[in-house]
């Protein structure tokens, strides 16, 4: 199964992720 988030954010929003990385509930996805 899959969860897709689609959201509006200021243009300077940046992700703190790598493609393919493991992630767990509650871990940060990105910040402004």
């Amino acid at each position: 199964s899959t969860i897709v988030l689609l959201f509006e954010a200021p243009k300077d929003f940046s992700f703190s992720l790598q493609p393919g990385q493991r992630i767990r509930v509650g871990e940060g996805l990105g910040s402004l």
């Binding site: 199964s1 899959t2 969860i3 897709v4 988030l5 689609l6 959201f7 509006e8 954010a9 200021p10 243009k11 929003f13 992700f15 703190s16 992720l17 790598q18 493609p19 393919g20 990385q21 493991r22 992630i23 767990r24 509930v25 509650g26 871990e27 940060g28 996805l29 990105g30 910040s31 402004l32």
Partner: protein, 320 residues
Amino acid sequence: LNTGRGLLPRPRPLPLLLLTGGGYLGYQHYRRRGQQEDDAPSSVATPTQVALYRSFPTRLLSRAWGRLNGVELPTWLRKPVYSLYIWTFGVNMQEAAVEDLHHYRNLGEFFRRRLKPAVRPLCASSCLVSPADGRILHFGRVKNSEVEQVKGVTYSLENFLGPQKKQAHDPSSSFRDLLLSSPDSDLFHVVVYLAPGDYHCFHSPTDWRVELRRHFPGSLMSVNPGVARWVKELFCLNERVALTGQWQHGFFSLTAVGATNVGSIRVYFDQELQTNTPRYSKGSFHDRNYASVHQVALHTLAEGGVTLQRGEVLGEFNLG
């Protein structure tokens, strides 16, 4: 010749279709792996291949799988069966709220296991946290109105979310522009893939207000990363539940997409939601507007929707 004809069993259509279809898909999979090995870009499935895949009774299989996993196991069988599942999918039982395997009456209950609250602390420095355990399949900015499900394979934003009530003033504006509340913001997306051994509840990724639930009945093809690379528009073809609303920066949505083995989706504050039902009409969707309902289970209604706190559990995927 007569006796010979009497001996040959009459070919039955369904097994024949399954055999030929399965053989064909197996050959395609083998051919694609060959391409991936010599680094050729993996080819996207043709409409015929997708139609053939969708013709498989995946929903029927999914419900049968769910019924099988709803059968209560005798106590002596629980430990061996769940231990095999734990070993196969690398489940970390130390994090489970209940570690005793005899506690789970069937594999469905085991699949819905909860975690100890302390094992998933919330990141204090990020306004947006992961809604689930899994693997980041893809993330980034949404350009035009096409979203990438994996690198290079896109799907239409409008097909994925369906028509919005807000109409564009400027006919030339795109669907993406319709969602944005400010010209100074952008549209972003993240795709989290949950593997069979992962914890399968999902949580609120931020503080937001859910205004609308849109349930799209659909196929239940696998959403394994390999299939996501092969079937374009996969997330628009599969059964899914899209929750849309507002957060501090404007538009926000969380969509749970089902798969063959995990066909059912529950949202705890929406008891009316029924997924993976035997019959549905293709291309249909069912809305529930929380802005207009008076009472939603377990949740207070802010003006016009259901308020969710960052990190709170809001739903789960179920087997079958």
